[in-house]
Symmetry: C2
Subunit: 274 residues, 2 copies
């Protein structure tokens, strides 16, 4: 059974309805004890103000979304991306986040060189680690579904993320989002390979059949075809004790609902379908 005291709300789930302040107050109201903000809503609220409100409400921050987006065609743009990643580490520290989520980036516009993009990702994470390690902020690579390989993240499997962790060493781990990895026949093996130290976050939602949009048609847990409890079991067998972070991009359904209704259903579905 999923432990309902371990729910975390990723702010993307009510992105269309609520500011970060409303998310924080909503979590408190619904007994949700974790939160994972995106940087846009964090900046809108102000980092100090957000850190204070999160602390006042006793929430844990299961991750900051997001750093990454390393590949670029020029050194100047790569440098700019890296600087933004340093700021993301600082913000994660200010919030006391458990990790900084990395969506690593795809191929720069006009490029067909996915191997080159992957090489830039490795180098970019390596540089960022020099900074994040000093401040003890764990970086969590989030492998994204292969349908995002071109334009969002060219790390698309747990196996690839584990390879990067092997190569780049401590301070780096993985955020496992069931939406991105459920289909992978190597998933159980690669969760085991990652082991407790690398398993930094566990994101849940569901894969709908049919899926009408590549980006914004994710489902509430239980409404799709992912065996989420099975994957949770694999995580927890390795010693994962973190939250279940609920992250649902859904422009036509959940983003159109009353957010208090959404949080009621999140609470119910973590109990019944996670």
């Amino acid at each position: 059974m999923a432990d309902v005291s371990k729910i975390s709300l990723n702010t993307a789930t009510v992105k269309a309805q609520w500011s970060l302040r409303e998310c924080i107050e909503g979590c408190a109201r619904h007994g949700i004890r974790g939160i994972a903000p995106w940087r846009d809503v964090l900046h809108a609220m102000g980092i100090d103000e957000a850190a204070r409100a999160i602390k006042d409400n006793g929430l844990r921050v299961t991750g900051l979304c997001r750093g990454g987006m390393f590949p670029a065609t020029t050194a100047a743009v790569r440098k700019k991306a890296l600087d933004d990643n340093y700021r993301a580490v600082d913000e994660a520290l200010a919030l006391g986040a458990e990790c900084l989520i990395l969506v690593v980036g795809g191929m720069p516009e006009g490029s067909k060189d996915i191997a080159g993009a992957r090489s830039q990702v490795r180098d970019g994470i390596g540089q960022l680690l020099d900074y994040s390690r000093k401040h003890a902020m764990p970086l969590a690579i989030e492998p994204l579904h292969p349908m995002y390989a071109a334009d969002r993240a060219c790390v698309n499997t747990m196996s690839h993320a584990n390879d990067l962790c092997d190569e780049l060493g401590p301070g780096l781990g993985i955020a496992v989002d069931v939406y991105h990895v459920w289909w992978d026949p190597a998933l159980e093996r690669e969760i085991r390979r990652a082991g407790r130290d690398r398993l930094l976050a566990f994101h849940v939602c569901d894969w709908l059949v049919p899926t009408r949009d590549l980006l914004l048609d994710r489902g509430m847990m239980g409404d799709g075809i992912i065996d989420i409890p099975l994957i949770r079991t694999w995580m927890e067998r390795e010693g994962y004790q973190g939250c279940y972070e609920v992250e649902i991009f859904s422009s036509e359904d959940w983003w159109k609902r009353d957010p208090d209704e959404v949080l009621n259903i999140v609470n119910a579905r973590v109990a019944s379908a996670v």
Copy 2:
């Protein structure tokens, strides 16, 4: 350089415009020497009639699309699917096809058991091989992109297809469609692992950014981000000598154009972008 004498037209590319007879005549008119029919247009024309017209026009049949769809919740439905696969083998033989393409099927409705579906796929292909081997008709597993894992094909990587070939033995190979496998960091290695004998077909189109629909928004070669010549080189290095089969599902673009224009562009793009 791609060899333009090796173009094959998959009938799906002009599915909205042309019958199989029109496809056959269109290939002849445009100097295209291969064809790969889907079974719906084949049945509409009649198998004997189609076999005759294909032969009269000197076309090679680079594959019949498609068998597969093995998983089901009851033995009766599985048996029905297998019977249909036997008929597909017979039809492939009647056309002198170089292989029968297998789209293996996803999870049956209501199921969340992808491991179970994969096990049914293995068993189904095994049973079909008992028949296809007797008649020397090669079966080609087409690994589909992971975004189709739930409802179309639960074999989503070359690695998984190679594992099935290892397990099930001769008479079984792989159809490599760049659309489905371009993102895979293990692609070059797994093409090498497959080797000449297993590389039964090579399908080309392109991945568009953005992709607006999971099913019907594939691009013409050169319009997207796949490095097709690189993948072709990997295929040919292993000794692949078959055709480049052009298969483009495109409800909003290529299916709305004059099919003679489509074939002109196919010919030009195989020369410039494959």
